[in-house]
Symmetry: C2
């Protein structure tokens, strides 16, 4: 059958061509389909279901910290976008402009939100009057649009899905506390749900968000040694408040400007999952974010009793995990390949001989280890294995990251590391943007962050040799 | 306190000015805020939380019928929109056009989706090859944009949130079955979750969706006697499949066109909840869709033990309902007014005397009935009352609808009914669009639907007197 063959054909191996391997996985695991719209992708059920898992868990965690969801318009009138100078300079070159409604030209053109700081500021200036109205801890789930020249599924697309949190606080301290709280929430989510370890730190001024006082970031290392910025949290100070006149009457009866933050994560996280955990058989999903955690595959399913037994196991396992049974008329071999391509963490094989022996075969997706398990212990073994896989995946990713992190004490070491050792490079920096620019020009590596966990590697900037101020993680990035 | 006064100020009464009452409720219950973007509203936390309740429950029901979620681009290239003739004629006059990306004009302008049939068809033509690929049962949650001249919160806005289901089937029968299944799902949801009774029926050709073979609708009656189309389900036959060349190889090895459906519900439902259940104290939410079902309001909360007791009740009630406690420093009277404005179904008052008597006072939002209840029975009484309120609200809405449904046997009766009895009018129709047009011109009433529950009122069309084909529900509509 033509349809069956398509999936079992092997994909490009990641050692041969990582970019092509990535494209093969997103297509063959049916995460996305390309659309007729330039730079936009279609999220297919398998891809969107991962996003739903991410949403559900993040949303729960946001709400635990007092965050409430809202929905803002997708349009920003040009005059509103122009209100904060740095912000408009950063975003105007990459927005889509709506110029006509129906057959009529608009009096003022509007862009499709590339991010919604300006809309939230306009909103806050209307609803915040008193210290009693603070803090405002709002978030929205939506899509945004940035006109990109080169696009890649999940990593960089013209339109993408994300959440954007926007908060307003009475004091600078409250805003800073929230900025760091959300960064920590992001890092914890990535490590404990997506099994991706993160470097937490602050962006250099060159790399910070347009209009922010400080941008914090979590950075992950992909299997090919490139870095991926996975979430950012910005402290705006009172810059936007002054541009949009967001003032409140404090307890002392004085008018004061609010202090604001914003923070976001996107469908890019799905790209991170693929590139951190995937292998040459396809996707490998951490159990906590896998829409289906266990696939039961009946063997010789036409034999009497096999489908009935599979159904019985399905019903039993539904109580402990997200489980499906593949009862299609495909061959077991094809079903295995499909389950592996889609990254489902465990498969349970059950055939006539297994039934006779009151057992099933469980196979781990991540390590391919096989276990023959008594049916009496099925639920407990599956539950244990899901926990083990989750933990092992994080451990492997951390080991890979550490094995691909190099320390460079001088510029020769730095250049050699970039050329020969894909991964993070830890090196000291003087704080001068000139060195950052030179490093980027010479090597294409960029500063990923100034990590919270600082190490004193040497006294001198790796680039200019002048006194160093801080340790920086550098790397080539997506 | 200036802030406190704002809310307790009485709103316009619905008898004086229903439209102003509606606007007052959406603003003072803090469901929405107007934005700087023409025709677009901001969904505030109290408004968005209702949408989240609706989403959660509908999404669960969709998935039970095998529907999977996807996400499609927000843009439609002009050439794609133009592919189905009726469809483009219906929507082109009211779409927003994107003409520039960053600083560059686009080679082809794109509209922002007013609905996504064309995108789904383009997608389906790529992924459907064989009968094995059918059915496709996809849905997406997103926003769409229709350039409206007159807008009104929830009822008609330039951008609004909705879900749009799009399915593809092997046969015409399968498509019709799905179209009706979703209509029934919608009606059941509205009746059993939103407590709004629905008339189910088919739209006349004049009122059907641009490009559909048949449009089915659920119609509700608002408190002011106007109708609100609350959800639609369309059977496209193979019209779109032919325009977009969506063919599959059937078991008999022949190429056949698929048959398609689409169906949608929107944030308009929140408008329906307001206009069916609301009263002169504000919003009244049916318990099943209320983000907060019970508000505990401590009385004399500075007295020793009151806040502790309120907290104890909060913890107990969390096990049986969605409950909050208002511990702000506002007066109890203000808190009552606020809880009523926001439509929270029950409030629990607990003060020193109540504590001493081991009791609490429960007040229903819908009827204002008060119950003094032993604290030992609090959970069971609250649970019972929430069920009772839900049921009573549906019953009252059905009674109101029935009391505002008039039968007209001839055109004089029809015109008098439109002029003097706000509500639905049941009347026979010959099937000729000329009568539909005349009725609209003479009375502004439109055909709402040809109900599935037909009655034989007379032999003649209420307008022209010629032989009647069908009974129609008519009414003025939002």
């Amino acid at each position: 059958m033509a349809n069956d063959k398509k999936l079992v054909e092997s994909i490009t191996s990641m050692e041969d061509d990582f970019a092509q391997w990535y494209t093969d996985v997103v297509k063959k695991a049916e995460l996305i389909e390309y659309s007729s719209v330039k730079g936009c992708m279609i999220l297919r059920p398998s891809g969107y279901a991962i996003w739903e898992m991410i949403q559900q868990e993040l949303d729960r965690r946001f709400k635990e910290t007092g965050v409430e969801n809202v929905y803002m318009p997708m349009f920003i009138p040009e005059s509103l976008l122009n209100k904060e100078k740095d912000h408009v300079e950063g975003f105007a070159p990459e927005v889509a402009w709506v110029t006509h409604g129906g057959n009529d030209p608009l009096a003022e053109r509007m862009c499709i939100r590339p991010t919604s700081e300006t809309l939230f500021c306009d909103f806050y200036s209307n609803i915040i009057q008193s210290y009693r109205d603070l803090p405002k801890l709002y978030n929205q789930w939506c899509s945004v649009c940035r006109w990109e020249k080169t696009t890649r599924p999940f990593l960089r697309t013209t339109e993408f899905l994300w959440q954007e949190g926007h908060t307003a606080h009475a004091t600078a301290e409250d805003a800073e506390e929230r900025t760091i709280m959300m960064l920590n929430l992001y890092a914890d989510f990535c490590e404990n749900v997506l099994a991706i370890p993160m470097i937490k730190g602050r962006k250099t001024d060159k790399e910070k968000f347009a209009g922010a006082e400080a941008t914090y970031t979590i950075e992950a290392l992909m299997h090919d040694g490139k870095a991926l910025q996975s979430g950012t949290s910005h402290n705006f100070g009172d810059g936007f408040a002054k541009a949009f006149d967001i003032q409140y009457t404090d307890k002392d009866n004085k008018l004061k400007y609010v202090h604001q933050t914003s923070w976001g994560m996107t469908t890019r996280l799905i790209g991170a999952i693929i590139m951190v955990h995937g292998d040459n058989s396809g996707l490998v999903l951490p159990p906590m974010v896998a829409p289906t955690q266990v696939m039961i595959i009946p063997i010789m399913q036409k034999k009497e009793g096999v489908l009935e037994k599979a159904d019985e196991l399905q019903k039993r396992l539904e109580k402990v995990c997200r489980v499906k049974t593949d009862t299609t008329d495909k061959t077991p071999g094809f079903k295995f390949a499909e389950q592996e391509m889609r990254g489902i963490p465990l498969r349970v094989e059950i055939g006539p001989k297994d039934i006779e022996a009151n057992q099933a075969v469980i196979v781990r997706r991540d390590t391919r280890e096989k276990y023959t398990v008594s049916l009496d212990e099925l639920e407990s073994r599956i539950s244990e294995l899901l926990v083990t896989i989750q933990k092992d995946m994080l451990d492997r990713a951390a080991k890979h990251r550490d094995a691909h992190t190099t320390t460079a004490l001088n510029y020769d070491e730095f250049k050699e590391a970039v050329a020969t050792k894909p991964g993070f490079i830890k090196a000291m920096w003087c704080g001068d943007v000139a060195c950052e620019n030179k490093i980027k020009e010479d090597t294409t590596a960029t500063s990923r962050c100034m990590p919270f966990s600082q190490e004193h590697l040497s006294d001198n900037c790796v680039c200019c040799g002048k006194p160093a101020k801080t340790m920086v993680y550098w790397g080539k990035a997506y």
